[in-house]
Symmetry: D4
Subunit: 242 residues, 8 copies
């Protein structure tokens, strides 16, 4: 991908074999692959499929974030100067926030994870706020009433991206209230869809790249950042995107 975002395969709704085939193609054409929303069956199929064509590649499956990261042997990951803070309101937000973290890290950002600072106990947030202020971009995952992104955006100067999380039951449940809250925020922030950790993390990574590109002497300024494409491949997609 020309944006430095790893070719991602959304495993949910695909069969393990299909998923493995797409991941393998991504690995072969771009030097790496990222599988999201993977079950252990998906992960096993990817591990086996990759093992067949690239026995020396690394395959990292994380059960909480449900991601599989595949790196070709000798793949040199990008490393950006900018830090992305990934902030959660509570433990239920961890898997989604983790998905964001994985993709932002793959793009090359440094990550600072700040957990359990939900607004029902504002002191915990205030205790961590200086740390959050250090980051160049802030991703905030929260479910239920989803007030945390607004409170954080009122306290930091960096761009904030909200991830509404699909918690809560009844009216506004399954993340609907949190999404509506992000869209109605009286501060400045942008949002992704409910549980779309991948998108938030990737957007944060794109901003980190833009900042990084600007800060690098001799950079051409167009934020294209070819240098972060670890394997030097052009990232041709492996599948129609829609």
């Amino acid at each position: 991908d020309r944006r430095g975002i790893p070719e991602a395969v959304l495993a949910e709704g695909k069969r393990p074999a299909e998923t493995a085939a797409l991941a393998t193609t991504a690995l072969e054409t771009t030097g790496r692959a990222l599988v999201t929303r993977a079950s252990s069956d998906h992960a096993a199929a990817v591990r086996e499929g990759v093992g067949d064509v690239a026995p020396d590649a690394s395959v990292d499956h994380d059960e909480v974030t449900r991601t599989v990261v595949v790196h070709a042997d000798g793949y040199e990951p990008p490393a950006l100067a900018a830090t992305v803070a990934v902030v959660t309101a509570g433990t239920a937000d961890a898997p989604v926030a983790g998905e964001a973290e994985v993709v932002a890290r793959e793009i090359g950002a440094a990550i600072d994870r700040v957990e359990d600072v939900g607004v029902a106990n504002i002191d915990r947030l205030l205790d961590q706020i200086e740390r959050i202020r250090e980051a160049a971009v802030v991703v905030v995952a929260a479910g239920r009433e989803g007030a945390l992104p607004t409170v954080v955006a009122g306290l930091v100067a960096a761009p904030v991206i909200a991830i509404p999380v699909s918690t809560g039951y009844g009216e506004g449940g399954e993340g609907a209230a949190a999404l509506a809250g992000a869209l109605q925020s009286c501060t400045v922030l942008t949002t992704v869809n409910v549980d779309a950790g991948f998108v938030a993390g990737a957007q944060a990574g794109l901003i980190a790249r833009a900042i990084d590109g600007a800060g690098t002497a001799g950079d051409d300024g167009d934020a294209d950042g070819d240098e972060v494409d670890g394997a030097g491949v052009d990232g041709a997609g492996v599948d129609g995107d829609e």
Copy 2:
């Protein structure tokens, strides 16, 4: 009304003459009347109608809250020991919060109004929090993403009642996000419908009465509090309620 809540006439959707007739009946049977969502036409009609039957009654019309309060000559208002804090996030919340304030005061509560402490600037809220903690009941009016009731409820020990306010446009606009946020709150609070200042203020008043009744020596403990019915009338409704 056996609950000490003034007989209220919702003017919106009624003709001025109808409204005046209902208010006059309330005045005559209960010693007072409260008209809500009144236009100036409604207010004028009430003033005239009351003037005809009770020339010495007081008629107070407030344009911001759109309420008209009518008291019979010699009406002795109830006075409870408990204070209701009425808190707003911003200026757009003032009319709705004011409606709550009017009815809570009519029930006899002392009122402490705290303005403009929305969560996008958490410091302003923290500056006022000790004052809010003094109240026996807290009513919080907020629109847009409506995060303030949750943050306040995390900071006080008293019962909190949220009033979602019909601000905001697009998805979750017109108070929908604020209502969903109140229903999804990860703290403990109850809510009323969007813009339902009357209901929130009345419920706060009922709680204040219950507290007051308990604190009064010799009280019968059933929170019935007949003594607060200023005019000593039984508050028979003037209109079918539904």
Copy 3:
């Protein structure tokens, strides 16, 4: 918790081990714990986890309300003078009403449970109404069309809190009609989200505390009621709240 509400862990969506860890921490820091929406796996894990660190603690699991209540050995429960009536329309409302009852009792309220007085047979309700009028606060759980909270609020002087219950199919099913009905009520009441028995019971408990505080000689009047924190601990949260 400074409000006298037991630290509550919402088990649904958490793994048994996670739930047990949070409950144990709550027990150790506040002298008790409340787990809601617990499966038997959750309950077993909590029992085992608590057994390890506090073998003399009591662990009460109720299958109908899906709650687990944990009390440290020697924990002295608060006991308030005020009674909370918990009223249901039919048998399907029992589990949700029971969740409300458990938390209100933990806060210290006396409970009066009134069952099966739904509006389709108004005589049954009228038979019980004097009993309901004895309570200081009334919680009413009803699903389907959810008319009971309105009818009850028209008959009592105490504050009424509605719990819409997720019964019914088709349009307005799963509690949506009952919630909308509570929000549209032409009487005075506040509501919680569909099935949010915990929140309704906790708010009822907060009101009961406020009443109790007011009725106790020498009370400072700010409803803070530290004395009801059974274990005397400050109730520091065990988890980010959102």
Copy 4:
């Protein structure tokens, strides 16, 4: 109309001249016409149009129900033995209930109107219940939370038809909660759409006709009731119906 329902023209969204033309055709082909949701402009145009072709016809415009009833000179209205009770919760329900009343009366039913018996004051309803029990069919109009149809249906043996009325603001406003409540009713009743007084009144009239037909010696039993078509015309529609 073979069902004895007067040919009805829904004026809303039609120009006065169009409305008048349709009403005139109905008058000429069926001996009468019913215009619903008519503004005064519509009414004036109908009066004028009818005056041109049938100067002796009666034209009755009612501003509250927004109906215009036109009868040919010498038109002999049907008169059924059965009574339809038309019950309202409050004054805001009167226009919609009145629309139902007009059409049921045109079909020939006797009407008993019972006003302002909303559920927030259940005693008023109980005071009138014997009267309602006299009717063969009961139409109940209520807005806001719309609990009245359910309570009435629990108290009478006759078929009950609910009309949700478009009152209330916020979530469930504009009659949505009342409609959902009718659909979720835990008693037996059927419903029409929000504000559809015409449909409810017409269905009540059809039932009254069926009852009347059954009770008339020599009736053929198929409820066709041609005899009630006052003008003896076959009621050919004047307009495509959809």
Copy 5:
């Protein structure tokens, strides 16, 4: 039940033992019981429970309609003169239509079942229309776009009751389009909620009773029809209704 509707237990969401207990109580107090939405576990429990207390009672379980009908030994079913037509658009509508049929028959109506006359093949409907015109009341079950009730109501003189059926996928699926279509019908009909066969059948039965009562010499005309309460019991509910 004073309306002649059998005491009905909605099995869905209740445990088999609970269901059996409620059915048994109904049998003992009213001479019969009707269980709806029963699984085979529910049916088996009812059979066993009834067998214990009333070994001679009949227990009829129908798998398609998911109903269980229990009659005390010697129970004499009511028999009304009026016929209810139960019409379906296609085979998917059969279970819901069947539920309506069972309850209407229990109330005493004669039933005429007309199958598979959906509007996509209007000729089939026209072939059966004279038969449908014989009925005193017409119940029409249809899913998907739900056009059949409107077309039928345009062709018959009797009252029509629509049952939207929960078929269809995507926008308007699960019966939502069919319900909206019934509410928007440009003919006269009333509706029940999606899949609410019980309610439609019971309302049709109430109308049939009213007609029957009117047609019986010496009837008191108030449609109360006590004579149809087979067991002569007053039908006290066995469960809170809401």
Copy 6:
């Protein structure tokens, strides 16, 4: 436009001068222009603007369909062999159906308009069905419950396109039920959005062109039909399309 669809300017939401400018550009580049949803102010501005640059052009404004059709002097309209039937349920459907007719005629189709054949009176439809069967494509406009497109599609062999019309009030009103009904149809048809007469007429025109192209000797078969572009211009858009 390469599809033979006239360059259309949606006037609603544009100022008269803007609309006139866009129409003038379309006229100059393609030999004609079509303005939809035009107020009389829009029409006047277009007439004036066109008068300035092309005094001999024809400008036809139709108040019912709210369209303005502009043809350059000497513009030779396309004429296809295929007929499009435009069918309405009732008079309220005429404006939307008319918009469809205008654009289909501009594309060159012959039009057969069939009015007022709504399903509540199925005989009227059956009387016209042979005429409808003559058409190559059938457009059916209906509001309220929107059953007509399904019934028509069950009776003809040609492709049917539904236009849901924004009539009806309450649940499913403003065309929502009619749209859902089209999407749920149990026959084969495609739909456009509520009131989107332009789109339906244009699609019908495209099909008519395809049929026409196929029937013309020597046609290249790719349905491109350049010959119908009256003015021989390539139809470059005058505005970004989205």
Copy 7:
């Protein structure tokens, strides 16, 4: 079916035996049958049922599209000159697109399948666009944001039919955004419901037939195309349609 569409049985929600019976009847009366949304149990039952009555019939079950196509021995399939392009955005769209393909082929159209040309990589689409332009009708299946139908319709002269696919999670998920996008398209296209591959393919087939009929010398021009009914049977439905 008089339209040349094979009699189709929607297996979902039917039992295997029911499905087999309906398919067998269709085979016997029309020479073929099409079963959609078939599980392998449904397919097995159809195979067995057909085997019993018509051992020489062909039975083709496809697991991806979940269709079963049954042809009588000697059945001669229709063959139209017109081609239908079936275009997908990504692999998740394949099953739904395939359902459309099967039915269009049964109607006799030639099919050109174009895969994986989603708008996130517009170059892939532009690479295939000339191929798509060859088709007489274009069916476009896309989920998530569903932008592909609009982009394609801007690039081709033939009629375009959108199939929104039920992919995506959160707000607008399950195909809702794709459907809304098709309805809001700023180009000309018609749509079917989410996942309604059958309807889109059948409509495309009807258009192909109309084109074919027009291009055939001596055709009667009414698009009835009896000749394409392979088996020469009149296609009487085997099931009530709604």
Copy 8:
């Protein structure tokens, strides 16, 4: 504001005098003010109010974007190196895009405006794509089906922010489809609410500042960028934010 975003007053829903007072306070405390959604009455009041206290301040009112920009005499606007591209699909998107442009420019970004490149004519977009690729951040405004942000994000490496615009009628109208499309995008982008030009422009400005800060030698790297606060004031809010 510590983020360099001008203190903004949302005029809609405020009285002109209120708006002027808030703008004046912002001017006095921060050296500038931005009023959004201003009518000409609002603009006139601001002009007058500012004239009273700061006669030398500049007051720029733009009717299309409905913004008023006020700068103190001698106010030195920030100037960042990074460019924000503001892209629209069609003319209806101009006002909302313009609002975004104004705020991004106030934060100091250079602006490149690209108009009318909607997806229905993909060539126009491809013609401009290199220009868009020059920008550091891309804001894309589109209504109706809102496909443009996705197509653009597939073609550029910079972060993309979508603004759904409230165009379109019927299902998905008023921007709902465009918002759902942005949330479902199969590329990487973040979104703001419908018509929220201010938020999108401000977020783009924050990213531009972060990039600028990184590219400036000696910058502290925390993106705080105090230097861009033209007037050197701390930007204390003038109004409660929520």
